[in-house]
């Protein structure tokens, strides 16, 4: 116990040193939901804890978080069996905000693994929609963050559902399988809410890719490989001299220019992920096989409706998948074997997966991620795995420690349809849960007793 207190003391000194930037946060009486690894790494306890945290739900936890926006110096500590009063005493004059969770669920924020948040005002109105650029001659060099409007009403509307961070991605258009470069954003609504500008490159195979590349899977796969080849070749480590580069470039009638391929080099080096949308089992195998040539690729498959048929191969090759556990209809011929058991089988095979809500995804859709994860539980997935799949798992793919950057207090089980957040903190800052939707709600609420005309309310 002494050791623990000494350790804690050191942490507090550290915190105090950096507390000038933002107020620290103390949440008491939390029912904390967090993945086992993070919990153990951050735990201070004078209780003897069971070694097996399979349910990942921990009651009576005090959370101390010291956050520097966008900084690596963020620290989050969980206390169990140590009185909150004692912790307050130790904090002394530190400037912090205290929040009593009153025994309610506390989690990290929800991380949306795929979205177009803030990239359009009205999806159906072309002028307001920057999700794709069919008339552009560039692809991979374009980054989603340049189209991101942090003050889009959909940011606040989704924040209200507990989403604190999101992947934002363009979609492929014109005659390229490459959609562009995607980004990671937080949902603070602030101008500085882009966390990573170049977080991944997105390419689309399957039916979408065939449309863009001229009409067949043969063409789209070739186009993808050409792009990767060009990048490999342009990477100084792979092309020994300029002559060789020139020869390669002439030989490869590449679908992407040299300048575009520069932005793929981080992908071929494995520094950032390559997200590929693909559905059919045999197409997934083709994607897996890319790793034979491009060994360092960090591949995430988006869609993956038939992944369950090739789950073992996906696991063996360390390919990650983003899937929608609602998908169970043969919506197209490439998804004829969509099944609710997809996620269950992938889990058993040891695949690293995130849950998306592709079937409900629009600009406004990411708030329903908790429902999609909840349905994975209803279909047999363990609760903590479903929850990780919309929080820590996808966040870790982009090197984001979600629990250190976001905390949400809920009025019930966050995966249950009737629950909603009551408080939210991003980078230590309390977030408003008000949005254009709640303002409309308040104006027209039947319990609003105002006699005024609606426009004056």
């Amino acid at each position: 116990m002494i050791r623990i207190f000494i350790y804690s003391f050191i942490i507090f000194i550290f915190l105090i040193n950096y507390s000038a930037y933002a107020k620290d946060l103390l949440i008491t009486n939390a029912k904390l939901v967090i993945d086992t690894k993070t919990f153990k790494e951050n735990l201070e306890s004078n209780e003897k804890l069971p070694t097996d945290y399979t349910n990942n739900i921990h009651e009576n936890i005090t959370i101390y978080q010291s956050v520097r926006a966008g900084s690596d110096k963020t620290i989050t500590v969980f206390f169990k069996g140590i009185e909150a009063d004692y912790i307050k005493e130790m904090l002394g004059d530190t400037d912090y905000v205290i929040k009593d969770a009153e025994g309610n669920w506390v989690t990290s924020g929800i991380f949306a693994p795929y979205s177009h948040l803030g990239m359009a005002d009205i999806g159906g109105e072309e002028l307001t929609n920057d999700i794709s650029s069919p008339g552009s001659s560039t692809t991979i060099s374009e980054k989603a963050s340049d189209s991101f409007n942090p003050q889009s009403v959909f940011v606040a509307n989704n924040r209200r559902h507990g989403v604190t961070h999101a992947v934002i991605s363009p979609t492929a258009a014109g005659n390229s399988v490459f959609a562009g470069t995607g980004s990671i954003v937080s949902l603070t609504g602030k101008y500085n809410s882009v966390i990573k500008e170049r977080a991944f490159v997105f390419a689309q195979l399957g039916e979408k890719g065939t449309q863009n590349s001229g009409g067949s899977r043969s063409a789209s796969l070739l186009q993808l490989k050409e792009g990767l080849n060009t990048a490999l070749c342009n990477d100084f480590r792979n092309c020994r001299n300029s002559l060789e580069r020139a020869i390669n470039n002439i030989n490869i009638n590449s679908s992407i220019s040299n300048s575009e391929s520069e932005y793929l080099i981080r992908v071929t080096r494995g520094n950032i992920p390559l997200i590929i949308s693909v559905e059919r089992a045999i197409d997934i195998i083709k994607v897996i096989n890319l790793k034979k040539t491009f060994k360092r690729l960090d591949i995430i498959i988006l869609g993956a409706s038939e992944a369950w048929k090739v789950a073992e191969q996906i696991a063996e090759n360390n390919i990650k998948v983003m899937i929608d556990p609602h998908n169970n209809l043969p919506s197209s011929f490439e998804t004829v074997d969509s099944s609710l058991k997809n996620i269950i089988i992938l889990d058993k095979a040891g695949v690293d997966y995130a849950i998306t809500n592709l079937s409900a995804l629009g600009l406004q859709g990411i708030g329903t991620l908790t429902q999609h994860a909840g349905n994975a539980v209803a279909n047999g997935l363990e609760w903590h795995k479903a929850f990780a799949a919309i929080t820590s798992t996808p966040a870790s793919w982009f090197n984001l420690s979600l629990i250190n950057n976001s905390l949400v207090i809920w009025d019930g089980d966050p995966l249950n349809i009737t629950s909603t957040p009551t408080s939210m903190f991003i980078d230590g800052q309390a977030q408003s849960l008000e949005s254009r939707q709640t303002l409309l709600r308040d104006r027209y609420n039947p319990v609003n007793e105002s006699e005024k005309e609606h426009k004056y309310r």
């Binding site: 959909f154 011929f333 539980v377 009737t418 909603t420």
Partner: protein
């Protein structure tokens, strides 16, 4: 204003039919009534007693523990345990059954009714050959029937059944001002649409407001604006009135016009108007249009802004079919709020959920649960049982079939779901689904329908 009364109309038809048959066998009404007749024929032979049920009966009444006796596909008796002394099962005494199911205190509810679906007419797989849901060749296509575009092998029907949907209303799409006739189906595995048609359910007319018609026809001769939409409605209602008059005064010499026949039947109160309309101000103008031509709008579909005019909806006795949280995909859906359904309900208007989605239709209970929770969080105090009316009784009312289904009451069709847990949670799924007393889905006993399309692929 004409108030639609199905029972009276049916009685009138029954009274008149023999006369037509004898005196004028070429009559319009008769021809129409025998076209594409329902051949729906469930197996009514099994008599079932469900005991230890936690019953939400769909009337809005409190949940009660009781038993349900099913005979000849109908609810013969439904008794609350509270009425009885403790463990005595009075139903047991009065119910002769071939099959007894102990619900083990699980929730038992009426089967779900989706008032807005395109299963069958936009089936899976979604390929161009399957686009049979909208006759996008003219803004006025009231002559088409949704049922003629329905493929009974849509795998979506099977999945909807697993989600507890026992009745569903298939509509034409929303490109046209007058889209055509909708059809109400039993979610019964059948080789033919006729085998699914809800016997004696009234036909409906799909109409559409706003952005879709003007977008689709803006560069194809119009309408190109909301003004053009309204002019189109009015011009055609005038034509329909003339046709109606001609048909009434000189029935035998009027040659049939399918397009006007549908509209005239609306004016006669025989066909229910189901109108796609998002914006509050537009719905209010449509209600005036209905007054001008003396017909009734039964339901506004996708009524994203219904909460802004819930009082007007109540006064007009017009229902609103809504999503829980779809909004923002086009301008007329921009003002969607999560409390739309409970706000409309609170105002005393007829509110209901609808899917318009082959995915959403599988979890309509969850859509209602989240709406209900958001409404109460906003300060309302709506009971779960009241919210359940958004899933079954109000859609039944909107389709003119509330006398047959939508609640668990004596004499009604035994359309029943036994849930694994409280249907107001995500973790609850239907375990058993009955249609007219016939067990069509049993999660744990491997009973489920499987479309022809599914054969030869990997999903069993």
């Amino acid at each position: 204003m004409i108030t639609f009364n199905k029972i009276n109309l049916r009685n009138i038809l029954i009274l008149l039919s023999p006369i037509f048959i004898n005196a004028c066998s070429g009559s319009l009404d008769l021809k129409e009534s025998i076209a594409f007749e329902s051949t729906y024929a469930p197996d009514l032979s099994i008599t079932t007693l469900i005991t230890n049920a936690k019953i939400i009966d769909g009337t809005g009444a409190d949940t009660f523990n009781g038993s349900i006796c099913i005979d000849q596909g109908k609810i013969k008796k439904i008794l609350s345990n509270n009425i009885l002394n403790d463990k005595i099962e009075a139903v047991d005494i009065n119910c002769t059954y071939t099959n007894k199911i102990d619900a083990k205190n699980r929730f038992v509810t009426p089967g779900i009714i989706d008032v807005h679906s395109h299963l069958g007419n936009y089936p899976s797989p979604s390929i161009s050959a399957h686009n049979d849901g909208n006759e996008i060749t003219s803004p006025i296509t009231s002559e088409v029937y949704a049922e003629h575009g329905v493929w009974p092998q849509d795998p979506g029907f099977d999945e909807a059944l697993k989600g507890g949907v026992t009745t569903l209303h298939i509509l034409p799409g929303s490109a046209n001002l007058f889209g055509g006739r909708g059809v109400t189906l039993r979610n019964y595995p059948s080789r033919t649409v006729q085998g699914m048609k809800f016997p004696e359910a009234p036909y409906t007319l799909k109409m559409a407001c706003g952005e879709n018609p003007k977008r689709v026809y803006g560069e194809r001769g119009g309408p190109g604006s909301r003004m053009g939409n309204f002019a189109g409605y009015r011009q055609n209602w005038i034509r329909a009135q003339e046709y109606q008059e001609k048909r009434n005064s000189n029935r035998l010499n009027t040659s049939r016009d399918l397009q006007l026949e549908t509209l005239a039947d609306v004016l006669d109160g025989k066909i229910l108007v189901q109108m796609h309309c998002y914006r509050a101000d537009e719905m209010a103008q449509i209600l005036d249009l209905a007054k001008e031509f003396d017909y009734k709008v039964t339901t506004f579909h996708h009524a994203v802004e219904a909460y802004k005019i819930s009082d007007i909806l109540r006064e007009n006795d017009t229902c609103a079919a809504m999503w829980a949280d779809w909004y923002g995909f086009k301008m007329e859906s921009y003002d969607g709020i999560l409390e739309n359904i409970p706000f409309v309900h609170q105002a005393g208007a007829c509110a209901m959920i609808h899917s318009d989605s082959d995915s959403g239709i599988q979890r309509l209970n969850q859509e209602v649960a989240k709406s209900w929770a958001h409404g109460n969080r906003a300060g309302l105090n709506i009971k779960k049982e009241e919210a359940w009316t958004w899933l079954t009784s109000n859609p039944a009312k909107a389709l003119g079939i509330l006398d047959q289904t939508g609640t668990l009451e004596t004499g009604k069709r035994a359309d029943i779901i036994i849930w694994s847990a409280d249907p107001f949670t995500t973790y609850s799924r239907p375990e058993k689904v009955f249609l007219d007393g016939q067990l069509l889905y049993d999660k744990h006993n491997n009973i489920y329908p499987r479309s022809d399309f599914r054969l030869g692929y990997g999903v069993k």
